[in-house]
Symmetry: C2
Subunit: 131 residues, 2 copies
């Protein structure tokens, strides 16, 4: 599959796909004419990369954890150096606190929206003045 198709199927711009390659997040073979040639598995891979980026992880961390998240769950124990494991544990914890923080704030936003909605319906029956 050429870069245009990968782009369409993942929603990442061509530019961005070349950037991910430059960052070592994905790889491509080259056709005789120099065109990049990707295989199927990169569709999921790119989607995952974008999810992680959107979740706030920088490419250098993604590059590290990506091998562990490969589709045909082949565990590469060879990569599992103590430093690697430490990095992963640290990153897992960071992800957890990020999740907690996001959840708290999302809940706060939700509560606000609920309160506004309540206020609206009270106003609708003309019961209370607002702030």
């Amino acid at each position: 599959m050429l870069i245009g198709e990968l782009s369409e199927r993942t929603g990442a711009s061509r530019r961005l796909l070349r950037y991910y390659e430059e960052q070592g997040l994905i790889a491509s073979r080259r056709c005789q004419n120099g065109y990049r040639d990707y295989d199927e598995r990169f569709v999921d891979r790119v989607v995952q990369i974008r999810g992680l980026l959107d979740a706030g992880l920088p490419t250098r961390i993604i590059r590290q954890i990506l091998p562990c998240l490969d589709q045909p769950r082949t565990i590469h124990f060879s990569d599992a150096t103590p430093e690697m494991i430490a990095t992963l544990e640290r990153e897992r914890d960071r992800m957890t606190s990020r999740i907690d923080c996001l959840s708290r704030n999302r809940d706060a936003v939700s509560e606000y929206l609920d309160a506004v909605r309540d206020n609206r319906s009270r106003e609708a029956v003309g019961t209370e003045p607002d702030t």
Copy 2:
């Protein structure tokens, strides 16, 4: 409280606090000599801002949702224009999907770590060769 103290208590550099002010995320009174003067509530506020930033929200969104998340939960219904509510709902949904994505990936990392740990203990009793 002067900027130095706020910096120490929040872990954000002075530079960053000035930047947040420039971005409209926090505000300060000024002393006669021009020094910034913050009150207590900004400690929590800054911590919250950093949490949201770390969670991937850009300052322009944080600026919008911050008033809704104020400590003494004063609901400012006056701010609740339809566009504002729409933005908040959109942002709440984005936060939810970010949480889901982060959770999935964190779980994948956890699974990998568990697998490595299992492999380690099997190795310890000399049962299996590795990949």
